[in-house]
Symmetry: C2
């Protein structure tokens, strides 16, 4: 069927709903370079302001999904479940969760992204392991999956290419933060990578892209409804990003913390989130009857070394230096460190977690623009989190940096990020809601 | 001052008002090709949906105005008043009004456009006069103005170039029909051409771009407020386009009708609108004390041949074939004609005037796309208008066409355009409102 791009723009501009055929046409033609960016960006702004309903969101996701290949995982008979996070500060869950779930018998086909802005990216973290290759071909991806039970790679050119084009355009036209567009972007990629079902970690709060619980609930609801229409099962955990996850922010620092967690150690909040998300993955894989049983199984593989073994196998299969994991002293380390102290004493009442993420970028751990280079050794160790007591001589964080790091700016941002008061704040809750 | 285009888009997306500096920056940078179309189209859609307030509309108009040259008419001491029409079907007012006003002592620096879609364009009409040159340089424009008292030309590259770029983008992104964007487009061009004041013919109804009286009132109000902020005086006449103006639609047909009007003949509605708009022009030029006196003066120059004389002088000065005006039999004439009859008898109750305009395009008188070629000889003579009785043997219109004309499609459209009923409708009112 033939449509005019102009009419499609006008339909959404006037607040009318799109037919499936219109969206299919628009996305397919845009992918082929037959509709110019300036028409698509006008349409995106109309979508942003006038919204897409459930059906339209499903049509859009499906059209983006079918703009490229869907990975064929039919050779793998085990249940295939993936996890996706909407991104945060110190979020190293994937590094621990994927091998743990694999050790329990789930196959985890995971494509990840890079950090941009205050939010970190799994690919950058993995690349702090010398030699680790995150650019697997589809064939290599399936081979690692078969051998290790999980594989981690970047988005290939053939996977939902419409999403890559659209995301780049949204990024420069102020049309990123829309529930329907976010839903379509996440699900088109995740379904294209071949998983049967997906567990979503929807981040909320000061260190997440969606700052309010209400907004995160809406995204969770949209993800679940759209997934259902696509015939995929999705569970959502809404977790707080009002403070960094774990105690580290920065690439090799987070790998070191992840290795600790994979050895049954590491910070409690990271372990709590990993085991909960893992419990849902096992339930979706029908390997357990309830989440509690799934959580227990994940705890077991973290404690008995089998999750760590999977991780080592993965590092080996993807070309990484195994010795740097056996002794994390061999991972990149920054030459300098500096402690940041609080300006007052009392209790940490709140943290502007986005600012902690931005401070890490100033040290070299992240990117302001797509072309920035990352220094894997740099980052922040967080000593004080919400509810912790802060005395005169208690460092809030330690900054790790090399010659290029703007340590002054980073220290300033960290001090701005902390609110310290005389009263002990209410207990911090990591897990806010679960649904599905 | 430096801004990020992204932030400017986000400001309007979030419904906040722009600072003057933001708009100046955005328009200046876009004019210089330093902001890509895809960011501007997202901003235009945000403007369309969230609106621009009075101040922002003024800032935008002023920024567009200053994107190019302002014609220097300081060598001309007489009052300089222009007329602008928002476009319609059979609207040949400029061809009669400009020479009539000039004959009364007003200098009329008029830049006009071409027809696109159902609406005709003054430049196309003038070009049906063999040899008539509508592409005057700024120097030639001023020379003709000095010699004849009026001059008609197309928009040069140096006149409000931001408007040309923005209009081309709005045209393909569904962002044309917005009061503020229309206001800025009209006024930036009109003020740049050097007039002291402007009389606006705001068309409303089925043959206009704005179909409702309410919409036209809003445009008139926006034009007057913005002009006041620019320090220019503007009067608005809201006139009905619920039927074609005069009895002809098509280029040489409209020149013939205009010549009749310039000789004191021609259809009453055309003369009524010309004299009223002319009355306002004379009043703005302070050549008369009230509109009635202005109307009388215009009537006089139409009756005594002095308006016609000006027209002849202009044709001569702009390279046109004077003999084709002395004897309009020498203007292009179509080879074929066909009459279209009503499907029922009674009274013409209403006309979908846009359809009449589209029928004329099918005959060759207009353009569907910018690259279409016009056949100046083709068009429609309208025999029956609102309130007229239609008997079995009364033709509604005559279609004039050459070999390329799709006369079948045109006839169909004309029949669809007419609503004929047994009851006599209320009297048609051409002039709906005047303000300023």
């Amino acid at each position: 069927m033939h449509f005019r791009p102009y009419d499609i723009i006008a339909t959404k501009r006037d607040g009318r709903a799109h037919e499936r055929e219109e969206i299919d046409y628009f996305i397919a033609e845009y992918s082929k370079g037959r509709i110019p960016d300036y028409q698509v960006s006008a349409w995106l702004m109309a979508c942003f302001l006038n919204g897409l309903d459930e059906q339209e969101t499903f049509y859009l996701t499906d059209a983006m999904l079918h703009s490229g290949n869907i990975v064929d995982l039919s050779s793998i008979k085990q249940p295939k479940v993936d996890k996706h996070s909407t991104g945060g500060v110190g979020d190293k869950v994937s590094l621990v969760l994927a091998p743990a779930a694999a050790a329990c018998g789930v196959v985890v086909p995971m494509t990840s992204g890079r950090g941009l802005g205050f939010s970190g990216g799994t690919l950058d973290k993995l690349e702090s392991i010398p030699g680790f290759n995150v650019n697997l071909s589809e064939k290599a991806f399936v081979r690692v999956l078969e051998e290790v039970g999980y594989a981690m790679t970047g988005q290939t050119d053939t996977l939902a290419p419409a999403d890559r084009k659209l995301y780049a355009l949204r990024d420069v036209t102020g049309t990123v933060e829309n529930i329907s567009l976010i839903t379509a972007s996440i699900l088109s990629k995740k379904v294209a990578e071949g998983a049967d079902s997906i567990v979503m970690d929807v981040k909320t709060g000061s260190g997440a892209f969606i700052k309010t619980l209400d907004g995160s609930r809406k995204l969770a609801s949209s993800l679940m409804k759209t997934a259902r229409l696509l015939g995929k099962r999705v569970s959502c955990v809404i977790s707080s990003m009002d403070q960094p996850l774990g105690s580290t922010v920065g690439n090799s620092l987070e790998v070191i913390e992840s290795v600790a967690c994979l050895r049954g150690e590491g910070p409690g909040d990271l372990r709590e989130l990993v085991t909960l998300l893992g419990g849902y993955m096992l339930m979706q894989a029908r390997l357990v009857d309830d989440v509690e049983a799934g959580v227990e199984k994940i705890e077991r593989v973290l404690n008995d070394g089998s999750a760590f073994e999977r991780f080592m196998h993965s590092v080996e299969c993807q070309g990484g230096d195994v010795s740097s994991i056996e002794d994390t002293g061999n991972l990149p380390h920054a030459r300098f460190s500096e402690q940041v102290y609080g300006e007052s004493t009392g209790f940490v009442n709140s943290m502007n977690t986005e600012l902690i993420g931005v401070a890490a970028i100033y040290l070299g751990a992240g990117r302001f623009t797509k072309d920035d280079r990352i220094d894997p050794a740099t980052g922040i160790t967080v000593h004080r989190k919400i509810g912790d007591r802060v005395g005169r001589r208690d460092a809030l964080v330690t900054l790790h940096y090399n010659d290029d790091g703007d340590v002054k700016k980073a220290a300033e941002l960290v001090q701005h990020a902390y609110t310290i008061g005389p009263e002990e704040p209410p207990r911090f809750n990591l897990i806010l809601e679960v649904c599905g």
